[in-house]
C-alpha cells in the first residue's frame, strides 16, 4: 500500500494524495458509526422488520425511510438555496442520476435479494459488525455479485 501512495504522489494527475489520510477520513468513519448504530438500534437490520414492510403489516420501515427522505430533501434544498460550501470551502456538487433500463432490472433483482437476506448493503455491514458471522457469508456473496456484474456489465442491457 505504501508503495502505491508514493507512486501517486509522483503522478501529477493524481492531485489529492491525501485521500488516504486517516485524519481526513475520520469524519466519514464517524458518520458511518452513527449510521451503523442507528441501523441496529432501530431494528432496520432485522429480517422480520423487512418482512413486515413487504407485507404492509407495519409502518416502522416506511416511517424510517420516509423521514430520512424528508430530512434529506429539506437539507439538500437548503444547501442548494444558500449555495453552501463544504468545510474546506469547496462548492457542493451532486451528480444527477441518469435514467437507464438498468435501474429497473437491477432494482428488481436487488428487491428480491433484499427480501431473501432481509438486509440491504448497509445492514449487511452492520450485522457483520454486531458479530453475526453467518451474515458475513451473505456479504461475501454480495461482493461476488458485484464482481460478476462488473465482469458481464457490457453484455447486460443498460
Amino acid at each position: 500500500m505504501n508503495n502505491q501512495i508514493t507512486s501517486d504522489e509522483f503522478n501529477p494527475d493524481y492531485k489529492v494524495s491525501s485521500d488516504f489520510s486517516i485524519i481526513k477520513n475520520i469524519p466519514f468513519l464517524l458518520v458511518g458509526v452513527v449510521f451503523g448504530i442507528t441501523l441496529v438500534k432501530a431494528e432496520v437490520v432485522s429480517w422480520f422488520r423487512i418482512q413486515e414492510m413487504f407485507r404492509f403489516d407495519s409502518f416502522h420501515m416506511y416511517g424510517v425511510i420516509g423521514t430520512a427522505v424528508v430530512v434529506g430533501m429539506i437539507s439538500v434544498a437548503i444547501i442548494k438555496r444558500f449555495k453552501m460550501k463544504t468545510i474546506q470551502g469547496e462548492e457542493i456538487k451532486i451528480e444527477p442520476k441518469k435514467f437507464s433500463i438498468s435501474q429497473i432490472f437491477g432494482g428488481l433483482i436487488f428487491g428480491i435479494g433484499w427480501a431473501f437476506t432481509g438486509a440491504c448493503p448497509g445492514p449487511l455491514f452492520a450485522l457483520v459488525g454486531s458479530g453475526f458471522a453467518i451474515l458475513f457469508v451473505s456479504l461475501l456473496s454480495a461482493i461476488i455479485g458485484t464482481l460478476v456484474y462488473g465482469i458481464f456489465k457490457d453484455k447486460l442491457p443498460h
Binding site: G32, V40, H60, A68, K97, V137, A142, L147
Partner: protein
C-alpha cells in the same frame, strides 16, 4: 439517556439520523450518501485492472471505505454495548403468516433456524443467504445504487431515476415476499 440507549429506537429517530447523514457527508467533503458503491471499490482494490468496471482510481473513494468501516464499527458498538434487550416486536399478522410458513423462533433479529451455518447448504438456506446476498450485490450495482444511494440520497436530490429504482426495489421485494418465499419456506 441510559434507558433510551438500551431500548429500540423509534422510526422517527432513525429517519432523522439517516436524513442528517445526507447533508453531513456533503458538508464534510462533497460526498454523496451511498453504501453499495463500496462493494465496487472492494472489488477494484482486490482485482488486477482487467475489467473496465473495476479499473478506476478507487483510492479516490477511500472515504467510502472509511464510511463502511464506520458502519461495521457502529454495528459492533450497538451489538455489544447498546444491545436491544428485547427481540423486535413484529406485527402479529406477519408473525402469523411466517409461523404458517414454518418459522417458529421470533426471539432474534432474523430467523436463526434458517440463517445458520448448518442450513447454508440446504436448498432454503442457500437461496436465502447465498443467492439473496448475490442478488443484493449484483442488483444494487446494476441499478447504480441501493436503499441509501437511490432511495435516500437520490430522492433527497429529487432524481426521478432514483424513484424508478426505489419502486423497482419494492416491487422486487413484494414479488419475493408474496410469491416466492411462501413456496420456498414451506
Amino acid at each position: 439517556m441510559i434507558e433510551f440507549l438500551s431500548k429500540p429506537w423509534p422510526w422517527y429517530v432513525a429517519g432523522i439520523l439517516f436524513g442528517i447523514a445526507v447533508p453531513a457527508l456533503l458538508l464534510i467533503g462533497n460526498k454523496t450518501f451511498g453504501v453499495s458503491s463500496s462493494l465496487r471499490h472492494i472489488c477494484a482494490a482486490c482485482l488486477p485492472e482487467r475489467f473496465t468496471y473495476f479499473s478506476y482510481n478507487w483510492k479516490k473513494e477511500t472515504w467510502n471505505l472509511f464510511f463502511i468501516t464506520g458502519i461495521i464499527l457502529g454495528g459492533f458498538i450497538a451489538g455489544y454495548f447498546l444491545k436491544n434487550l428485547a427481540p423486535p416486536e413484529i406485527a402479529a399478522h406477519t408473525k402469523q403468516v411466517l409461523a404458517q410458513q414454518g418459522i417458529s423462533d421470533f426471539n432474534h433479529l432474523f430467523p436463526v433456524e434458517l440463517f445458520n451455518f448448518k442450513s447454508l447448504f440446504t436448498f432454503k438456506g442457500f437461496i436465502l443467504m447465498i443467492v439473496g446476498g448475490f442478488m443484493v450485490g449484483f442488483g444494487t450495482r446494476y441499478a447504480g445504487g441501493c436503499t441509501s444511494g437511490h432511495s435516500i440520497m437520490g430522492l433527497s436530490n429529487l432524481q426521478w431515476p432514483s424513484l424508478v429504482a426505489t419502486i423497482c426495489f419494492m416491487v422486487g421485494g413484494f414479488v419475493a415476499t408474496w410469491f416466492i418465499l411462501p413456496y420456498l419456506l414451506n
